[in-house]
C-alpha cells in the first residue's frame, strides 16, 4: 500500500470530490488544484481549527489584505530581488525546470539551491543532466522571479505582483492594528488568504501548487522583553528537533526535548518561537498526525530566507514522499518593519515604558493549507477488507470530517424518506454538518460515507416509524447502536465531545 497511497488518495479525491487537477476539461494545468465539496469542507474545518489554536484564545487580530500589491511593496520587502529560483529551459522542447531539483533527483543530494549558480551550472554539466521530458539539451540555469506580475488599472501602467506570502499585509498594516490594539505590545496579526507562486515546474498534485491558502501570523514583540505569557500552556510539550548542527552533520535522529528545555538550552532562541512550535505540534496532533511523525528541522544559515535569523520547518513524515514541510517558524527580526519604514518614510517605532523607541521584532508561524489537507488525509486513510472487497476509510478526527453525520432512510417508500428528511433538518438546526443520502443499498451507503470519512450514519427504518427507534452506525468500528430518537441529540453530543462509541448503548454488529 505504502508505495501508492498517493495514487489511492488522488483517485478517491477525484471520484468522490475532495480535490482534482484544475481546468481538466481543457487538459489541465500543472500547479492548480480544485477542491470539491468534501475538500472545501475539510479545508474550512482545518482553517477554523488553526484559528482555534493560534488566534481565538489569545485574542489576536485578523486582517484581510489584497492579493495584488503594487510593485513598491515587494521592492521594499526584498521579494523583487530575492523571490527567485534557478530555472533551466530545454533547448529542444522549450519546457522550464528547477535546475536544483533536477540535480537533487539525479544525485540524491538535498538543498542544492543554496550552493549558488556556479555550483549548479557545474553539477548540471558534470552529471550530464538532460531535459526529463524530451531528453534535449538544457540551457544554462539562471535565477528567475517566481511572482506573478500584472498591470493595475486598465488604462494605466502601474506594475503589480500577486503576493507569494500573506506576511507583508501584516507589516503594511502594523501601525493601524497597533493603534486599534491601544498601542500595547506584544500582540499578533494573523491572516488566512490566497497566495500565488509562479513555480517553474510544479508537480505532485497538492504538494507544490501555484495558488493556495496560506495561514500566517506575525507576533510583534520587544526583543528586550521577549516574555510569552502563554508559554506555560505548552512548555511541557515534547517536540522533536533537528538542530542546525545536526542538519549540518546530516544526522537523522532528532533530539526529543520539551519546549521549555529547548528554550533554556537555546535550541530555540526566543520564548515566542518556542510557544508557537509547541502549539504547532499540538495543532498537528489534532489533525491526526502522531507526535513521532513530526519533527522541526532547523534551516542552515545559507538556506534561510533573506529576512530570517532562525527558522525551523515543521515537517511531517508522509508515506508518499518522506518528510515534507507543512509549516515554517521564522524569526523575521525587525527586517520587514525596518524595510517598510525606510521605503515609505512612515515611522514604525514604538515606545517602551522607559520612553526609548524601538522597532518590534517578529516571530512568524506560517502554514500552507494544501499540504495540511493532504497529510490529514494520508494519516486518516485506512484500507479494510470486507467480503473480499477492499474498502476505503478516512478516519478523520470527528470534528474535522467534512460531514459529521449522514442520515439515510432504509428504503425510499412508506414514509421513511420524510422521517429521514425531518431528522436531517433537526440535525442541521442543531449545528451539525449533516448530509442526507438515499441512493443504493444501506451497505453501499455506509461504504460511501466511510470513503468520505463521515463518522456517524443514522438509519431510519420501519422501527423508527413504529417505535421511534433509529440505528446509529460508527465509521471506525462498523458497530451499531439502536436508540430512541428522543435520546439521539444527547448521544450525538456525547459522541462529538469525545465519548467512545461503545458507551452510547448496547452494541450490535
Amino acid at each position: 500500500m505504502s508505495e501508492n497511497i498517493y495514487e489511492i488518495i488522488t483517485e478517491i479525491s477525484k471520484r468522490r470530490g475532495f480535490f482534482w487537477s484544475s481546468f481538466e476539461i481543457y487538459g489541465g494545468m500543472a500547479g492548480y488544484v480544485t477542491y470539491g465539496d468534501y475538500g472545501v469542507k475539510l479545508k474550512r474545518n482545518i482553517e477554523a481549527l488553526w484559528r482555534e489554536y493560534f488566534v481565538r484564545k489569545q485574542g489576536f487580530f485578523e486582517i484581510d489584505d489584497p492579493i495584488t500589491n503594487p510593485s513598491k511593496i515587494f521592492e521594499a520587502s526584498g521579494h523583487l530581488s530575492n523571490f527567485k529560483e534557478y530555472a533551466t529551459i530545454c533547448n529542444q522542447c522549450g519546457r522550464g525546470f528547477r535546475a536544483d531539483h533536477l540535480i537533487e533527483e539525479k544525485i540524491a543530494q538535498e538543498h542544492v539551491e543554496v550552493l549558488g549558480v556556479e555550483a549548479i551550472k557545474k553539477l548540471l554539466v558534470e552529471n550530464k543532466i538532460k531535459c526529463p521530458t524530451c531528453g534535449g539539451e538544457l540551457k544554462e540555469p539562471s535565477l528567475v522571479l517566481t511572482m506573478f506580475q500584472t498591470q493595475i488599472g486598465a488604462t494605466g501602467n502601474e506594475i503589480g505582483y500577486m503576493r507569494p506570502e500573506a506576511a507583508q499585509g501584516m507589516f503594511l498594516n502594523f501601525k493601524r492594528c497597533f493603534q486599534a490594539n491601544r498601542e500595547r505590545i506584544p500582540f499578533a496579526i494573523s491572516q488566512q488568504g490566497t497566495v500565488m507562486r509562479n513555480e517553474i515546474s510544479p508537480r505532485r498534485g497538492v504538494h507544490r501548487v501555484r495558488e493556495f491558502t496560506i495561514m500566517e501570523l506575525e507576533l510583534f514583540y520587544d526583543p528586550q522583553n521577549a516574555v510569552c505569557r502563554w508559554l506555560s500552556d505548552v512548555e511541557n510539550e515534547r517536540i522533536r528537533v533537528l538542530t542546525e548542527e545536526m542538519v549540518e552533520n546530516q544526522l537523522e535522529e532528532p533530539l526529543e526535548i520539551t519546549v521549555k528545555e529547548a528554550i533554556i538550552k537555546k535550541v530555540v532562541l526566543t520564548e515566542w518561537q518556542g510557544y508557537f512550535m509547541g502549539l504547532s505540534k499540538k495543532f498537528l496532533c489534532s489533525l491526526g498526525i502522531p507526535s513521532e511523525k513530526q519533527r522541526f528541522r532547523a534551516h542552515l544559515p545559507q538556506e534561510r530566507s533573506h529576512y530570517s535569523s532562525q527558522t525551523f520547518d515543521h515537517e511531517v513524515f508522509t508515506k508518499s514522499w518522506g518528510w515534507i514541510e507543512v509549516s515554517g517558524h521564522a524569526n523575521r527580526t525587525d527586517y520587514d518593519l525596518k524595510s517598510h519604514m525606510k521605503a515609505s518614510g512612515v515611522d514604525m517605532t514604538v515606545l517602551r515604558p522607559d520612553k526609548t523607541r524601538y522597532i518590534p521584532h517578529v516571530i512568524e508561524p506560517s502554514y500552507g493549507i494544501s499540504r495540511l489537507v493532504y497529510v490529514t488525509m494520508e494519516y486518516a486513510y485506512e484500507q479494510k477488507e470486507s467480503n473480499n472487497e477492499k474498502r476505503n476509510i478516512f478516519r478523520f478526527p470527528r470534528d474535522l470530517a467534512p460531514y459529521q453525520i449522514s442520515v439515510q432512510p432504509l428504503v425510499t417508500k412508506d414514509g421513511l424518506p420524510e422521517l429521514a428528511i425531518e431528522l436531517h433538518d433537526t440535525l442541521l438546526k442543531a449545528g451539525y454538518r449533516a448530509i442526507y443520502d438515499e441512493g443504493g443499498s444501506i451497505g453501499r451507503r455506509y461504504a460511501r460515507q466511510d470513503e468520505v470519512g463521515t463518522p456517524i450514519a443514522i438509519t431510519i427504518d420501519y422501527e423508527t416509524k413504529d417505535k421511534g427507534l433509529v440505528t446509529i452506525r460508527d465509521r471506525d468500528t462498523w458497530k451499531q447502536v439502536q436508540t430512541h430518537i428522543h435520546d439521539l441529540l444527547d448521544k450525538l453530543k456525547l459522541y462529538f465531545n469525545g465519548e467512545s462509541f461503545m458507551d452510547l448503548g448496547p452494541i450490535f454488529e
Copy 2:
C-alpha cells in the same frame, strides 16, 4: 446625519479596525480595501450566513477553483470579448476614467454604457466633458478589457487572467460534480472566493473595488422540468420588483408581489429564479435590511450580460448613495456549458429519464461581500446622545456581530482580572466569540464595545468575588441585569436564541 453617514462609517472603520484603504503607508491605491479584525469577523459571519441560506439546507455542493485561469477559459466563456468598459484617458494628466460614468454624473442619466461607443463619443463632446481631475482634454473613448492579465509559468509564456467572477469554475467542474452527485439533476454548485476586476477608475471605498470575495451559486436544471422542490419555503415572501417595463418607463414605485404570484404572472420566468429571489430577500432581512429598503430591478435586454436571458439586480437603498446593487440574479441559460462544450470538445449533455440528452440550464444568484458588509453596517449604525456626547452604536443582529460578548473586570486588581480571564475562557469553550477588555473606565469600555457592535458586555466586580454575581449589560437598551455566574451560560443561550434582554432578569439602568 444622512449626508455624511458614509464618512462616519469610514472614520469608525479606520479607527476601530473594520476596513480601510490598502497600502496606506505608501499613499494608498484606489480600489483596494483591507479588512481589520472586526471587518474580517463580520465578513466571515455574513459568508457563513449566506451558506446557511443558500447551501447548507439544500445540501448543495461547494467548490474552490483557482483565481488564475489560462486564457482559453475566458476565450470560451466570452469574457475576453465582452468583459470590457468604456475608458477615456486625459491628454494632459494621463489618468483613465469610465466614459459612461463621467456622462452619467454630468447629465444625470443612468446606464449610459448600453448606448454604445458612438453615442458615448457624442455625449462626451456635446456635454463638453473634461478631465475631472485636471480639466484637461479627454481622448476618444474606447472599450478596454477589465481583467487582470498575467503570465503563468516563470519561464513559459502561457497568458493567464484573474477571474472576474467565480462562475466559470462551476461550469469547468460541472461534469465532475455532476458525477459526484451520482448524475442527479437539479443540483447546484456554489463558491465563495476572491475575484479581481481591473476597474478603470474605482472610487467610493468598498462600493467598487478591484478585489473582493464573491459568493456565487449555479443551479443546474432541466428547462423541460424546472420544478423547484423548495419553492414552498419562500413562495409567500413578498418581494418588491421593478419589471423591465417599469424600468423602461422609468417608474420608481415597485410592484409588491409574492414570489408565487411573480412566477404565475411571469414577472419571474422560472421557479428556481423565484426561489433564489425569495431566499435573497430573507437573507438580506437577516442582515438587518428591512424589506421596504430592498427591491429587485430587472435589467433591460441591452443591459444584460452576454450570457443572460433574464436578470434582476437585488438592490438596497443606502443613505450614502441611494439604490445600490448587492446581488445579481441571472438566468444564464445553457450559454456557458455550451460554450465550454464547444471549446473543449467535452460532452456536457446529460440524460433525461426518457433518454433524450440536453445541456442543463443555469440560474445564478451572485453576491459581492464588500457591499453586503457596507449595507449591514449602514443599517446597524445609530447615533445616540449621552451626557452631551455623541455615541456610535452598531446594532448588528446578535449572531452577526464580530464579537458577541465582551468580558471586563471592574478594576485591574484584587483578583478581578483573573476571574474575568477565567470567564472569558469559559465563554470561548462554549463557542462564543468573546473578547477580553481591561483598559479604561467601565463607561469607556461599554462605549468601545457599542462602537464595534458587541451585543453583550459582562462585568466582573467585587460582588462576583463575594457572591458570584456578574452584571450583564445590553448594547441596544444600555440596561443591565445582575445574575449568578452559574446561571450565566443559560441566560446567554436564551439571549442568543432571540429572547428579549428584558426577560433575562430584573433590570437596572
